[in-house]
C-alpha cells in the first residue's frame, strides 16, 4: 500500500482496517543469490539497494533478533557530512545526498530534518583545525561555514559564554546536516526491500559459514542452512562474533556507547550542537526530548549498557556548554555496541573468502552512513568492485599504512 494523506483518509473512515503489514514474515528459502547477515540499518539498506539499483531481488536478510534491534534502534540520530579526510568526506556527502531524497525514494517519512550541526571550538589551534576540516568539505562541494563567537552567539544564545572554563571562540557549521527518526529509517528500508521481493527473516542467527575451495556457499543459521553465491556481513558490534566463524581476525574492538534522552520539552534547540574540548553532542527530537551523548565508556563491551562515571562525564560537559540543561531530566539512558576500528573509519571490502563481503568499523558514525553504506555495499556485492566513494575502506589498509585517522589518535579504538 502506498502511503499518502489519502491512505490516512481512507483508513480514518474505515477504523484503521486497511493497513497491511509493512513487511512479510517469510520462512527462509533453501537458497538465494545473496544473503545479507544483519537486519539493522546497514543490512536493510544494502538489501534495498541490491533490489532497486542492482537488480538482485533474490536476496534474504537474516537477523538474529527483530529488525532494527541493534544500533539503528538506539542512537543519537545525527546525520552530517563534515569529515576531514579524502577517504571519508566523499562517502559521507554521498550519504547525505541519499538522505535528502530518502523519504520520497522510500515513500516513508524518516523525518530527516536539516537544522544544522554546529561544532564549537575554544582556541586558535582548534579554530584552525576546524578551518582545515571546513575547507576539505568545501573542496568536496559540501556546505561549511566557520563562525566567530558573535555568529555562534546569535545562532545559539543559550550557550554559556561568561562563567566558563574554556571560552567558546566560534564553531564550524554545516547547515545541511541534521537529525532523523532512527527507527523509521530501518522500517522504511525494510518496507522498501520487502516490497521488492527481499525476504526479511527475523529470529534467524547465523551460526556458521559454508565455504568450499575458498569460496562462500552459504550460511548455517538457527533456522536451517541457506545457500548463497554471495554473503554480505553487516552486523556492527557483533562483527567479530560472526567473522570468527569465518576464521578472520579483525582490527576491531566492540565498545559500549551510551546515549541519553530527556523528558519531552517545548522546542529550545534549533539543531545539533557539539562541544570542542570534551566529547558531547545534543539535539532535540520532534517529540521534544533532548537526545545527547558523548564518549564511549572506553573498555571492550558487548553488554549494551554502560556505567555511571561516563554518565557524569557527559553531563559535566553538557552543563559546561549549556547550563540551561540543568533542570532537564534524563528520562532514559541506553548503550549500544560500537564496532570501533583501529583508525576510526569503516571497512567495506572483500575478504580472503571469495564471495564473502564485510561491512563494519562504523565507530560512532554508523547512523549517518546508513544510506551510502547500503548503496556501496550493494555495489561491492553486485559488481565485486568498490563504489568510487568507498575505495579507501579497504580491510588491508592497516597493513599497508593507508589508515584514515580523522583525529590522529592512532591504533587505539577508545580514543577515536
Amino acid at each position: 500500500m502506498r502511503y499518502s494523506a489519502l491512505s490516512l483518509l481512507v483508513n480514518a473512515f474505515s477504523g484503521q482496517k486497511n493497513w497491511t503489514p509493512v513487511w512479510r514474515e517469510p520462512e527462509p528459502k533453501p537458497e538465494y543469490d545473496v544473503v545479507v547477515v544483519g537486519g539493522g540499518g546497514h543490512g536493510l539498506s544494502t538489501a534495498y539497494y541490491l533490489a532497486r539499483e542492482f537488480g538482485l531481488a533474490n536476496v534474504a536478510v537474516v537477523e538474529k533478533g527483530w529488525l532494527g534491534s541493534g544500533n539503528i534502534g538506539r542512537n543519537t540520530t545525527i546525520v552530517r557530512s563534515n569529515y576531514l579526510l579524502p577517504g571519508n568526506e566523499p562517502f559521507y556527502e554521498f550519504s547525505l545526498k541519499l538522505w535528502e531524497g530518502l523519504e520520497q525514494d522510500l515513500n516513508y517519512n524518516a523525518m530527516f530534518s536539516q537544522r544544522g550541526v554546529l561544532n564549537l571550538f575554544h582556541n586558535d589551534a582548534q579554530r584552525d583545525a576546524y578551518a582545515r576540516r571546513g575547507n576539505a568539505m568545501r573542496l568536496e562541494g559540501v556546505d561549511a561555514e566557520l563562525l566567530d563567537q558573535a555568529a555562534v552567539r546569535r545562532l545559539c544564545p543559550f550557550l554559556e559564554f561568561n562563567d566558563v572554563r574554556f571560552p567558546i571562540q566560534g564553531g564550524l557549521l554545516q547547515r545541511r546536516a541534521g537529525t532523523a527518526r532512527h527507527d523509521a529509517v530501518a522500517w522504511g528500508y525494510a518496507r522498501g526491500a520487502d516490497s521488492r521481493g527481499v525476504d526479511l527473516i527475523q529470529n534467524c542467527e547465523v551460526t556458521g559459514f559454508l565455504v568450499e575451495g575458498g569460496s562462500i556457499r552459504g550460511v548455517e543459521t538457527t533456522r536451517g542452512t541457506i545457500k548463497a553465491r554471495k554473503v554480505g556481513v553487516a552486523v556492527a558490534g557483533s562483527t567479530t562474533r560472526v567473522m570468527d566463524k569465518a576464521g578472520l581476525r579483525l582490527p576491531i574492538e566492540s565498545h559500549v556507547l551510551q546515549a541519553f534522552v530527556t523528558e519531552g520539552l517545548k522546542p529550545i534547540l534549533p539543531g545539533v550542537v557539539s562541544y570542542g574540548l570534551g566529547h558531547f553532542y545534543i539535539s532535540q527530537s520532534d517529540k521534544g526530548g533532548l537526545v545527547f551523548g558523548g564518549d564511549i565508556d572506553g573498555y571492550n563491551s558487548y553488554a549494551q549498557r554502560g556505567n555511571l562515571p561516563m554518565v557524569e562525564h557527559v553531563c559535566e560537559i553538557g552543563m559546561a556548554m549549556m547550563p540551561m540543561l540543568g533542570r532537564a531530566r534524563i528520562l532514559r539512558s541506553w548503550g549500544g555496541v560500537m564496532d570501533m576500528s583501529m583508525d576510526g573509519s569503516p571497512i567495506i571490502d572483500r575478504t580472503p573468502i571469495d564471495g564473502l563481503y564485510l561491512n563494519c568499523g562504523w565507530c560512532y558514525g554508523g547512523f549517518k552512513a546508513t544510506p551510502a553504506s547500503g548503496y556501496c555495499f550493494a555495489h561491492l556485492i553486485a559488481r565485486d568492485q568498490p563504489h568510487e566513494v568507498a575505495t579507501a575502506y579497504r580491510l588491508d589498509r592497516f597493513e599497508t599504512g593507508h589508515v584514515i585517522d580523522e583525529l590522529g589518535h592512532g591504533a587505539q579504538p577508545n580514543l577515536h
Partner: protein, 994 residues
Amino acid sequence: MSGGQPNRLAEGGLVQRDREIAFHFDGRRYHGHAGDTLASALIANGVRLVGRSFKYHRPRGVFTAGSEEPNALVELGRGAGRDPNSRATVTELHDGLVASSQNRFPSLGFDVLAFNDLLAPFLAAGFYYKTFMWPAAFWEKLYEPVIRRAAGLGALSGKADPDAYEKATAHCDVLIIGAGPAGLQAALTAARGGARVILADEDFVPGGRLNGERMEIARTPAHEWAAKAATELASMKNVRLLTRTTVFGAYDGGTYAGLERVADHLPAVPPHQPRQRLWRFVARRAILCAGATERPVAFADNDRPGVMLASAVRTYVNRFAALPGRSTIVFTCNDDGWRTAGDLIAAGGAVEAILDTRGAEDIAHLRDIAGDAPVFTRARPIGTAGHKGLSAVTFLNANDRPVTLSADCLAISGGWNPNVHLTCHRRGRPVWNDRIAAFVPGSDAPPGMVVAGAAAGAFSTHGALAQGTERALEVLGDLGSKQPASGIPDAEDAPYAIQPVWHITQSKGRAWLDLQNDVTVKDVEVSHAEGFRSVEHMKRYTTLGMATDQGKTASVPAIAVMANLTGRSIAETGTTIFRPPYTPVAIAAFAGGLRGRAFRPIRLTPAHDWSKEQGAVFTEAGLWLRPQWYPRRGEKSWRESVDREVRQTRRSVGVNDVSTLGKIDVKGADAAAFLDRLYTNTMSTLTVGKVRYGLMLREDGFVLDDGTVARLGDSHYLVTTTTANAGLVMQHVDYCHQVHWPELDVHMVSVSDQYAQFAIAGPNARKVLRKLVDARFDIANEAFPYMACGEITVCGGVAARLFRISFSGELAYEVAVPARHGDAMIRAIMEAGREFDIVPYGLEALNVMRIEKGHPVGSELNGQTTAGDLGLARMISAKKDCIGKVMAGRPALTDADRMTLAGFKPVAEGEELTAGAHFVGIGREAKTAHDEGYMTSVCFSPSLGHFIGLGFIRRGHQRHGDKVRAVDAVRGRDIEVEICSPHFVDPQGERLRG
C-alpha cells in the same frame, strides 16, 4: 470537611493540620498542610483537572499517589529555577510553592489543541511515517515546526540553572532500596547484625505502603510502626537513613546511583547547600524492597479526570485525609481493590458501588466490607461520561445488561506489578508469574542483589516483613556477620486473589493504555496489523511507554493486549528493556559541582601571579593557563604587543615561562637503554652535561611527541615533553617499561610541578643570566656551549638547573629552580634584565619565533604525520629498534608522494596567510582530487616584515620556489603562496651557538 478545603476530611491522615501552607496553581491561591503533596492538596481543594495529554490534549487528572504518575505533570517555580514536567504526586508542598499546568493554550480549562482529539482517526499510531512527505522542503518549513511546537510538555527556562548541585560517595555492607515494611524490617535485622547499612527511600516519610493503608502491625497502626522503626534506625551508629532519595540505577560492581532531593521541599535552597545530591553507593550487598505499582484496566474512556488507581484513592484518604471524589465507584478484578471501599466507608466517604469482574463465589468473603454499598459481580465497565471530570460510569452487569451509575471518582485495580526495574538494569529480564499475574525478578538480577516484599511478588504485609527479615539474615550470613534475634511482627497476610482482566473487549470507544502519550488498544492493534509485533517494535511504533512515566502503569496491560493479538503467551511476549534511571534525574545533578570555571581543574605555573600583575592575556593550554602576550598601555591590538615582544627578544633579551612543559625524571642502570627504545635517535651516546632533541613515535609509526633529553648524571636523565602530550607520554613510558620491558632497572616520575622553568633568549641572554648564576659557574659559550646542561646554583646558593636549549632560535638558556622560588625567580630575572630592557614574551611571540625557525609543535605533530613528513627521517637510527620503527616502514608511510613540512610565504606584497587553508595548483579547479596539502601554522614575522607559514604539501621538500594557491574557502580567501624552506630566520643557527 474543613473550611477552605472542600474535600479535606475533618480528621485523620498524617498531614500536620496545625501548619497551613499557601500555594498557587495556575494563578489561583489554595491552602494545604505540611505533609501534603501538591497532588493531595489539589485533591483536598477539589481541583480535578491538572493537565493535558501529549498528543490529543485530553483532560487529565491525578491518577496515582506516587512517582509512577503519568498525568499530573506541572511546571514548578518561575524564571531560571523553573522545573518542567514535575510530578505533583511526589512534589512536597511548601510555603509559596508556585505550580502551573503545562501543554495547553490558552488555558488548562480551554485548550485549543484539544482539537487534535477530533482528528484522532487521522492520527493513529505511526501516522507521521505515512505523510508529511510532500513537498520535501515543507518538512523543515511547515510540518516539522508545527509538530515540534505541539510536542513536549513543559518548557525549559532557557536560562542557566541557578542552583548548586553536589556529588558524594558512600560505602556500605548492605544498601536497602525502599523503606516500606520489607525495607524497614530488612534494615532493622541487618543493622542489629552489626552490618553497615544504608536505607534509602524516595518518599519524604519512611513507611511506603504502610502510610497509605488502614492496618496494624504488632497491634499498632502501621504508619506508627513505620515511624518507630525509622526512629530506631536513625539512632543506630551503623545505619544511614536517607529519605527523599531515589536509588535510580544499578551499575557494575555493586555501584548504585541515588538522587537525594536535598532542598526541593523548601521554599528556597539554604545557603551553601545543594538543591540535589547525586549519591554513588558502593555496596557489598543490596536488598531491593521497591514495592509494587498498581495497574489499570483498559476500557472505553477510562482516562477522564477522577479515574484513579484504587490504591491511590485510599492513600489520599488514609495518608492525606483528602477525598478524591464525593461518590466513588470501585472497579476491581482482585481482593485488594476492596480495601479502597472499606477505607472510604471508614473515613465517611460515599461508595456508589463495587464492581468486581469475578463471580459471586469469588467475593463472598469480602461482602461485609461493602457495608450497604451495592456490589455487582461479573461487572465490566464499557464507558464513562463527563468531559473535564468523571460524572458517570456505564458497565455490563452479570446479565450483560448495561447499567449507568453517577460517580465523580472511579477507583480501578487491575492488580499489582512488582517494581523489578533495578533487577534488570544490567540487562536481566523479569519472568512472568501466572499465579500473581505479574512479572517478577528473574534469576539474573545483579550479583549481590536480592529482592524482598512486593518487589518479589509477596503482596501481603506479613510477606513483606518476613522476606525482609529472611533476605537480611541471608545477607548477614554472606558477609559473615552475626545473626541477630529476628522476630517478625504480626501483620495481615491476606492471600492475593486475582483473575486478571486487561481489556474490556465489549467496550467500543477508545480504550486508553498510555495516558500521557495517548496510546489506545486500537493503536496496538494497528501496530500488530502492520507487522510491528515484538514488544520493542510495538513500543517504538506506538510510543507506548516512552513518556515521562516510562509506562509504569501502561506497559503490562499493553503487553497482554499484544500477546492476545499474536496468540502467544504474556511470558513469551516478554517486556521491553528496563533502563536507568528508575525515575528521571536532572542533568545538573549528574554534573554536581564541576560547573562553570570549576568544570575542570586549573593548573597554574609558579609565576602565574606575576604574569597576572603584568596584565598578561591568558589562554588555555590543556588544563594550564599560559600567558599569550603581555600588552602595554597604548597598544591597540594583540599584534602590536606580540611584534614588540619578538623584536625586543631578537634585538636584546626576552623571558618566557616554560614551566608547563612536561618534565620526567628518569633514573636507573638501564635508563639509557630504555630511552634508546623510546626515542628514534640514540640517547645512550649522550654524555653527562649534554642535551639532545628527540623524537618519539607511536607503535603504529606516526609521531607521538618531541622534546629534549638531558643527561644530568651517570644514570640520571631529564626528559621534556610538549605541554599537551605530557600526560600521554608519561602513560606511554610507564606502559613500555611495565608491559614490554619490566626487567629493565629504570625509574620514571613526573617532576613537571617540581620546577619553575624560564627561557631567557636573545643576544643579551647570557649577560642577564650572568647576574643571576652564582659566580663559580662558567656559563660562557666555551664552558657551556649550545645543548649543554648542568646543575648550578643561583642567587646565592639556590639549587637550580641550566639548559642551553633554544626554541626561539636565539642565544638562549632555560633555567629551572624549585617551584617555591618560581615567583621570586621571574622577578629577579626581570630585575637583572632591566638594563637590557628585557621583555616578558608570551605563547604568541614564542609561536612567531618558532615558526620563523621552522620548529614543529602540536599543529604539526597532529598524530597523522611521520618523522619523514616533518623532515626528520634522518633521526630514525638504523642501528637499533625503537617503538614504532618497524611500522614506520609501512608502504604508505614511506610513499614518496606524502605531504612533507615546508615553509610558505605570500606572493603578493602585504598579503595575509591563514592556517587551515588547502593547497591547490595554480589554474586548477579547487576540488578534493587536486588537494595537495594544508597550512598548519601562520604568523606575521616581525623579523621578515611579512606573513610566513608552515604546512604540509605533497613532496614539499622538493618544491621550494614553486607557487601554489592557498584556498581558504571558509574564510573566503584564495591567494598565491610560494613554497620555501621552513627555516626562515638564521637557518644555519649561528645565533644559537653565539
